[in-house]
């Protein structure tokens, strides 16, 4: 079978523009082979090269005193956490494959990010996921007028949601990593284009950091893991196109199938191999498989690499060079072994019953040379391929809808007549409702490290000795593997994409601020951020404007919180025939907690405890009083408009510092920040989110008095989403002390009420609203299980 001739149509099918093709020829000094065309096509796709976003990404803050491996250097960033220990973490998307085959798309997304962590030499110890789908239930006012098309669309959204969660559960649970947190949002803009952003974090000692470098001329190159098949052919290129029915149908063969059992074995074997010191470089075969791993490792080391495809284990018959180089079969690793140490690979991989093959060697030519059947099928300068993709500065233009958004006022929004009903509807809205349907399918406890499980603002892990990767003989002998005590880290992932849609700059600042606020609520100080930028088609100036403004906001906020970006992912072209998704810059933030006593959850504890608010109750400078882009406007009025709440980074910082100080002083019994659903939702959630065991909730009521506050509008007071506010509870006798301390720390604070009783009671301006606490609990806890039962 001979390769097809290279025609302009073939070049276009490979998503290369005529200009890019000319650049390609310039690099080679000739026409490419078919295999070379495929190689350039994947390496220069958006997913691998970030060609449309690189200039923007360079504006992120990426340094701090704790950064050991920074953004862009390797497969994941690494941050020091003290005591000679470090954490490696990253977030990555698998959006398009999940739209086509939700279970395997999500599963392989988890598998991919886990590999990015252990390829750095870290032991993966936890996972989180940020998921977005179209709505799974109608809004209150839509319920009675649902068309068959909407019904069908929602059924499809439920199918995708169910498949994605099952896929994540399948992979994470079998691999043995706790999936400890995440977020799930439901919005029309994700219908047709769900988002699956998978995060993973691992632990290692500084000495154990492994590099993705093809170091040492003459070193043998090994392939480890299952045989290569035709999975995911050109998946990276697929991810870089708009998702249409046609592209979905053609790509049905492109979805890879993951094997978490295999990945666990590969992970253990790689960590064992790394401990022997026999590894010069290691990289996982992820997007663009063999292609990406070979040229990137060579490029990083400034060396060349030569491989022979006949030596690559194959599980499909008659695979062509093109197919072998571009296959995205899962759970494979590329390992550059120090010459003379080949026996270690054989010994360890045979112990774990894993396939391995010596497939090539490191050269000094700087070129990536691929042979098949005795012929050279690709010969490309590695660095030009890996690092010198075309870079574009796209046109940016503020979209027309922004002017409309800015014009919106509350004048047209009728005053709320039924606050009791509104709170119930908000708590039952799947985006706000309890996500227990999701996380009870995840083993969130394996590895004995989950100190604060899913269901609170952030997750807290404790890191102990067995979180470390296998120690080398030297490290073990030196006693470096002995822990003095434990380490505690907190994790949060956030993005209110409605805000970002309405104001990309402000909304993105809020995504970071909210993550930092969630960490502060558990007593944690931010260490670093990994971001997943999910946007539409960057060739459209409207969308590029969103991306540019978002990056501007993210960067400013990360700087303010001294939380550098350690790496991340860009997923563009999230656009279906119905239009683009809301711009969604998912922010995953990791923080450190000093002592286990500081770990704080979001639920009220004891009858009689005082409930306080830290922060201004309403942003009085905001003409929309915090209702712009709010869940309340969306759920109760069907509106997604209005300038979102403002984010004042200085005020947020002061709030977080004060909150941490109060937590450290031991006076805080619970802390929960105000976000979707505003103050009333935050208070309600603090009342109802405590769980002791299966079917054993421990809700508790509260009496809240807001009559001292100026209530221009009741809906804004209860449900406005002004930023920089945290609802805390303290022991009855500590309330006054805490209020005074907050004042000293420069943060507004007021008493809201008292914990206790079987109802939530909110008093305001002459009226009193009452909700039996079990009613609120049931609406919130059962919303998603009920929706998914049908």
């Amino acid at each position: 079978m001979s390769d097809p001739a290279i025609t302009p149509q073939l070049v276009q099918k490979h998503n290369l523009t005529p200009e890019e093709y000319e650049k390609l020829k310039g690099i080679l000094g000739r026409e490419p082979s078919y295999t070379e065309l495929g190689i350039f096509s994947v390496m220069w796709s958006e997913h691998c090269s970030y060609k449309n976003s690189r200039p923007l990404l360079k504006t992120f803050p990426t340094r701090s005193s704790k950064i050991l491996v920074g953004a862009g250097e390797e497969n994941a960033g690494i941050i020091d956490i003290g005591g000679g220990l470090a954490i490696a973490f990253k977030i990555e998307s698998h959006n398009h494959p999940s739209a086509v085959e939700p279970f395997q798309g999500a599963a392989t997304g988890v598998g991919g990010i886990i590999r990015d962590i252990f390829t750095m030499g870290a032991r993966p110890i936890c996972s989180m996921d940020s998921l977005r789908f179209g709505p799974i239930t109608p809004l209150p006012h839509e319920a009675s007028t649902l068309t068959p098309e909407r019904r069908q669309a929602m059924a499809n959204n439920r199918r995708l949601f169910s498949g994605v969660v099952a896929g994540i559960a399948h992979y994470g649970n079998c691999f043995g990593i706790p999936t400890v947190g995440g977020e799930v949002y439901f919005d029309r803009s994700y219908e047709g284009n769900p988002l699956v952003n998978a995060f993973c974090l691992g632990v290692l000692r500084h000495e154990q950091i492994a590099r993705g470098r093809a170091s040492g001329v003459g070193n043998p190159v090994f392939y480890v893991g299952p045989a290569t098949g035709r999975d995911g052919l050109a998946g990276a290129a697929f991810a870089s196109q708009d998702l249409t029915d046609e592209s979905a149908e053609q790509q049905r063969g492109a979805v890879q199938v993951g094997d978490p059992f295999m990945e666990k074995l590969v992970c253990e074997a790689c960590l064992e191999l790394l401990a022997t010191g026999a590894v010069a470089g290691i990289q996982d075969m992820g997007a663009a498989g063999l292609t990406c791993s070979t040229c990137e490792t060579a490029s990083r080391a400034g060396t060349g690499i030569e491989i022979e495809l006949d030596k690559v284990p194959q599980r499909a018959p008659n695979m062509t060079s093109y197919e072998i180089m571009l296959s995205e079969s899962q759970e494979r690793m590329l390992i550059i072994v120090k010459k003379g140490r080949e026996e270690e690979v054989k010994r360890i991989f045979d112990k774990w019953d894993l396939p391995w093959a010596e497939i090539g060697q490191v050269t000094d030519t700087g070129r990536m040379v691929v042979r098949h059947g005795g012929k050279v099928v690709a010969d490309i300068p590695a660095r030009k391929l890996a690092d010198e993709s075309p870079i574009y500065q796209r046109e940016s233009r503020e979209p027309a809808y922004i002017a409309e958004v800015r014009k919106f006022t509350l004048a047209g929004v009728p005053e709320m007549t039924d606050p009791v009903g509104a709170l119930k509807h908000l708590l039952a809205w799947p985006t706000i409702a309890s996500k227990n349907w999701v996380y009870r399918q995840y083993d969130h406890m394996v590895r004995d490290g989950t100190a604060l499980a899913p269901g609170s603002d952030a997750t807290v892990l404790r890191i102990k000795e067995d979180a470390l990767p296998v120690l080398s003989a030297e490290l073990a002998a030196s006693g470096a593997g002995k822990f003095e005590g434990e380490r505690y880290i907190a994790l949060a992932v956030d993005c209110n994409a409605a805000y970002v849609y309405l104001d990309p700059y402000e909304g993105s600042k809020i995504a970071v601020a909210e993550a930092a606020r969630n960490l502060a609520c558990t007593g944690a100080t931010p260490l670093g951020v990994t971001d997943n930028l999910n946007f539409g088609n960057p060739l459209k100036p409207d969308i590029f404007w969103q991306l540019k403004e978002s990056v501007r906001g993210l960067g400013e906020a990360c700087r303010a919180f001294n939380a550098p970006v350690t790496g991340g992912n860009v997923s563009l072209y999230n656009q279906s025939p119905d239009g683009p998704i809301d711009p969604t810059p998912t922010v995953a933030m990791v923080g450190a907690i000093e002592k286990p006593e500081h770990i704080t959850a979001q639920w009220f504890h004891t009858e009689g405890d005082a409930i306080l608010l830290l922060g201004e109750p309403v942003d009085s400078k905001d003409p929309l009083l915090g209702l712009g882009g709010s869940a309340y406007l969306h759920v109760m009025h069907g509106l997604k408009t209005g300038t979102p709440p403002r984010c004042d980074l200085e005020i947020e910082k002061e709030l977080h510092l004060a909150l941490r100080a109060l937590i450290c002083s031991g006076s805080i019994k619970s802390a929960h920040d105000c976000s979707e659903g505003g103050l009333a939702a935050a208070i309600a959630e603090s009342c109802i989110s405590r769980q002791e065991a299966r079917e054993t909730p421990r809700p508790i009521g509260a009496t809240i008095d807001l009559s001292g506050l100026e209530a221009r509008r009741l809906d804004a007071l209860l449900f406005g989403e002004s930023q920089a506010r945290v609802v805390i509870s303290t022991a009855r006798n500590d309330a006054v002390k805490v209020l005074e301390r907050a004042k000293l720390l420069g943060v507004p604070a007021m008493r809201l009420g008292t914990v206790g009783g079987a109802d939530l009671i909110i008093k305001s301006a002459g009226a009193e609203y009452k909700w039996p606490i079990m009613d609120l609990y049931k609406a919130w806890w059962n919303a998603i299980p009920d929706a998914m039962r049908d």
């Binding site: 043995g176 059992f261 009870r440 406890m445 299966r694």
Partner: protein, 227 residues
């Protein structure tokens, strides 16, 4: 006491069990690779949770044929103490060291949550330290934890007090709501006739430190340690 904690390809909770035995309870515990033929000087064997062999074919179906299981069978025949946790329970049932089998959760979904267990008898090396009438709160995390045995076997288990733990609610009732997986009679764990081999689906090693939310799991390990 010296513990051997088996390690199969795909075991995930092995290090958790070792951690609790060594660091929390202060006893000697080591990992024993599935290809080993001898248990060494182990006084007790723990078969931990996870997804041995990826749960392929059936959970525990392939692990039971590992070389180390011959040594475990011999050890058990001589009265040695063996405790299977979650996947370990599944492996012991497949190996015929415990009666019955574990099948897919009735909900068809994986379930990870805390449950209450009632200890039905103190007459066993795995339950003797659990205080009378105390309900213990321990997490489950499994997709295939529904215990099944035919009617004759269940009668036999009851007659011989071989049902060690039952899923109950916070009030101690073995209701359907309290049952996370559909197990017959809410059975969470059983022992063999000789009472030296036991298995349970919940994970006591995840409820042995207060930072993780509870310490009731220690009572099971302490039962084994009590002489």
């Amino acid at each position: 006491m010296n513990f051997a904690v088996l390690q199969f390809p795909g075991s995930n909770c092995d290090q958790d069990v070792v951690h609790v035995l060594k660091n929390v309870l202060g006893h000697s515990a080591r990992l024993l690779w599935h290809k080993e033929n001898s248990l060494g000087d182990a006084d007790a064997v723990i078969v931990p949770g996870g997804f041995s062999y990826g749960d392929y074919l059936r959970t525990g179906a392939i692990a039971r044929f590992s070389p180390v299981m011959a040594a475990v069978t011999e050890f058990a025949a001589k009265g040695g103490l063996v405790l299977g946790i979650c996947n370990g329970f599944q492996i012991l049932c497949e190996a015929g060291l415990l009666p019955g089998a574990l099948i897919r959760n009735r909900s068809l979904q994986f379930r990870c949550e805390n449950v209450y267990l009632k200890t039905l008898t103190r007459n066993s090396p795995f339950t003797r330290s659990v205080p009378e009438d105390k309900l213990i709160r321990i997490p489950v995390a499994h997709g295939e934890g529904c215990y099944f045995a035919d009617a004759a076997t269940i009668s036999g288990l009851k007659a011989n007090s071989q049902i060690l733990w039952q899923y109950v609610n916070a009030e101690g009732q073995a209701t359907e709501m309290a049952n996370p997986n559909g197990s017959i009679e809410n059975i969470a764990g059983v022992c063999n006739r000789a009472r030296n081999v036991a298995g349970l689906m919940p994970h006591p090693e995840r409820a042995s430190e207060s930072i993780l939310g509870g310490v009731d799991g220690r009572l099971i390990f302490q039962s084994i340690l009590e002489k």
